[in-house]
Subunit: 333 residues, 2 copies
Amino acid sequence: MAIRVAVDAMGGDRAPAVTVEGAVRAVKASSGRLQVQLCGPETVVQPLLDSFGAPPEIEVVQAPEVIGMGDSPVAAVRTKPDSSIHVGLRRHKESRADAFLSAGNTGAIAAASLFVLGRLPGVFRPSITTLYPTTRGVCTILDVGSNMDSRAEHLVQFAKMGSAYARIMMDIAHPRIALLSVGEEPAKGNELVRTTHEQLLNIVDLNFIGNVEGRDILHQKADVVVCDGFIGNVILKFGESIMTAVPEMVQQELNELNAKPDEVALIKEVLSRLARRFDPENYGGGGPLLGVEGEVFILHGSATAGAVEQCIKTAAQAAKANLTNAIQKALAP
Amino acid sequence: MAIRVAVDAMGGDRAPAVTVEGAVRAVKASSGRLQVQLCGPETVVQPLLDSFGAPPEIEVVQAPEVIGMGDSPVAAVRTKPDSSIHVGLRRHKESRADAFLSAGNTGAIAAASLFVLGRLPGVFRPSITTLYPTTRGVCTILDVGSNMDSRAEHLVQFAKMGSAYARIMMDIAHPRIALLSVGEEPAKGNELVRTTHEQLLNIVDLNFIGNVEGRDILHQKADVVVCDGFIGNVILKFGESIMTAVPEMVQQELNELNAKPDEVALIKEVLSRLARRFDPENYGGGGPLLGVEGEVFILHGSATAGAVEQCIKTAAQAAKANLTNAIQKALAP
């Protein structure tokens, strides 16, 4: 049976153009194994879909309201119950869709997911999880913004959930789990990290390798890096800026070197390959919201059609592998 | 009169070779305006200095003990009162040197500075401050590791001290001070950041431009970025890894492209220019420990002779400009 993915057609800076295009690309590539439900105002989404020939595997689900990127998440979740985010999540809740994804307002997606789907039994706080390209593959980092001011028991759950995610979705038998700190020694770090470190040492079935430092992320010293959502979000965004700052710095150097256009061709090619590495399109399209009762994926607001296509496939893979079930098992005492 | 800088000859991964060489280079470039006191075991330092011809502007100050990079800071400060760090700081305390610098154990430098020099009146916590290269110059970031679990009043002092530093040492008349957070809105962030934001709005004489995000640092959206020492340290080390990870990624792409050796010459040149940008040698050599009663500078453990040379000049500049006095004025209520 085909996997059914509900997509927030209105989420993201370039929606609905890229969400509709991404959905069309995903179903065309799936040979009938994938169905997509595009949630959004019919009058907006249907004509766009028609312009792509309206493949039979894609259905438009009416959702008259739209939550803006700048809307207050809590207020929006309360006042726009028929938003494309709510409608998509309800389809998933009612088992009419097997997964949901959105490139919209991250806070609103997280809040609406809690409201509509609820959290898995025993979960303190769901966690926004991201994948990050390294010199040796892709690192999973959580939390990256769902929880400010986390407690140690939250971070311990993030470690368990991140481990299950890497096992199921990244195909790593015993993912190396690390705690982000300022030194390898257990006594290094702030109070939160020191307490969490002690607790993680006592978790069986967790390949906890200890603390890693900021410099270890890009070199994939761990498969899963656990941190508080405040620091995770700062790191994530700092990381994003590498691929805007480095090309700018390279251009400044080329200007000083008076490099000829034909000489810089190889540099441009290498830079565009680096940019592709850092493009979420090439590592899953988006990251999961772990800890809620369902398969929810969040894309970057600047997601391209390629990232949407990829994230639909990732969400379908999660649904097929029953990721949520694995997360729940990993959390069981 | 010449400025006298006490240098921990034994601090750093490549000490004393690079500290002695850096000192020799600094005094040779100074036309007699600079004197250096190399603190360390005479039997080790003097022969090295002799090998450089022992310039008259450099004196060796006997310090029989050495604090290792891996020593516990608090224990080392207590058990090694005649370490090269202590001896150098005492020279400064006794006004026999105008500034002190070290590339040694950062925690021990901070602890010994507090012990020997003490903090400026009213200072809650001294702050380790770093300079970071951006697309448009150099950004000052503090705290980067002196204080885990800071309180709002600590961050407010960091903002005031950072502002004075940028004004005096970076020659910026009205430095733009920003608070590191997860969004521009004052309500975004963890409790520490939200409280600090409110307090910073009330400080007159401070060009507080609000919150910046992780992605804004490399693009120099602010001249001074204020944060808790835990996150500052993680960011600093993540930033350091850019210049190890990016060249590795570039090499991987070049391998895939089967680029010819002559084609990659320009790429190697650009990469080495980027590496120079990120080399502390090119932006002050090291950063200050702000909030103590004296001019103390800390270099990276991997400091080169060039970085030591540069940091000696920076420390001399701070002493000449009476940086500590400016910091104290900035902190006055």
